[in-house]
Amino acid sequence: MAAPRKVACVEIGGIPIALSTCDEGFLDLLRQRYDGFLSYSSPEFELQFDLTDPRPVSDDDVRVRREGDDWLIERGDFQARWDSRIGRGSVRQNANPYSLDSVLRILHSLILAERGGFLLHAASTICNGRAYLFSGVSGAGKTTMTRLAPAGITLLTDEISYLRPSADGYAAFGTPFTGELARVGENCAAPVSALFFLEKGPENRIDELPSAEAVRRLMRNILFFAEDHRLVEKLLATACDFVARVPIRRLTFYPDARVWDLVQNFDCNFDRNLARNSEGVPVHA
């Protein structure tokens, strides 16, 4: 007789997913890793884990492709099958937390793409009830910005931002997916005030980005793996909508705490500039 499955419900971005396993040790790992994101909500989706013999985490590219009505998600260290119509799937992997994180991120990226949201390679924080996102190439300063954040700022993530459309724009949610800072984000959400693409420089300044350039940079940093024309079309539409509804700027910064004065004043300057000039003008430090 098969061992009974035990379940932990993990709710990231307001989407509860039941993760089930027969292995007590793996269940403990799940609970510890996603502590703070465990939920008693009724799960919308279900993912069954079956453990394999240990395999090293793979450097291979992940493949996410359709096979009939299912999604197949494969990398050297895991194989998953996901039926989006019934919201159920199965995963074969070893008890490696990094494989687990990867599977969950990919699954959320598929769910979000259908709902007009996305995962972004960006740090995000809440300041005065508004979320600020910091994206850029590796080394651009995402972790530095979160390290420099003044007291009272809530960290949503230093690595993977979770974005969903809302009535008045987009909302950013905390995630347990950590980067260099290795600090889990808070499980809360706030309306997005701005997305900054980071560049280090000799002074602090904020500059406008043309819409097409903003879309190009956004698409480059969205986590999306599916080889699926319909979802790519939807994602591009979402990126254009995001650019139309959220201020996107280039933030050149000298890495000390003063850059946060500029970020915290962004809303005031943005509103004032909008009032002065309907096309907006750059805000400089």
Binding site: S211, A212, E213, V215, M219, D228, H229, E233, L236, A237
Partner: protein, 102 residues
């Protein structure tokens, strides 16, 4: 290939979106991303697989933009070659069925 026999059609493997007067095109197979300027957008939108490139240049480029016809034709052929190498446009010396909705 004689230049007056070039037919172009948009690939079905692309996603395209207009924003602020520019066309953004993404190849869903390899995620390459292009931003087209006004002239390139006009050619891209007219790529129905049935209209020869020379007619597209004459009717959509020379009519709307102040450009030398020979230079416009040369630029269009270069643009078509580049986008076809990335799988964005299909090129043939026979009429093609356009694969993507406008």
């Amino acid at each position: 290939m004689p230049e007056n026999c070039i037919y172009i059609a948009r690939s079905s493997a692309i996603a395209a979106r207009a924003l602020a007067g520019e066309m953004m095109v993404m190849n869903s197979a390899d995620s390459t991303f292009f931003t087209l300027n006004e002239v390139a957008t006009a050619i891209f939108q007219a790529a129905d697989g049935r209209t020869p490139l020379r007619e597209i240049v004459r009717d959509h480029i020379c009519e709307q933009f102040d450009v030398d016809p020979d230079q416009a034709q040369a630029d269009a052929e270069q643009f078509v070659t580049e986008l076809s190498s990335h799988g964005i446009l299909l090129v043939s010396n026979q009429p093609l069925a356009s694969e993507a909705p406008r």
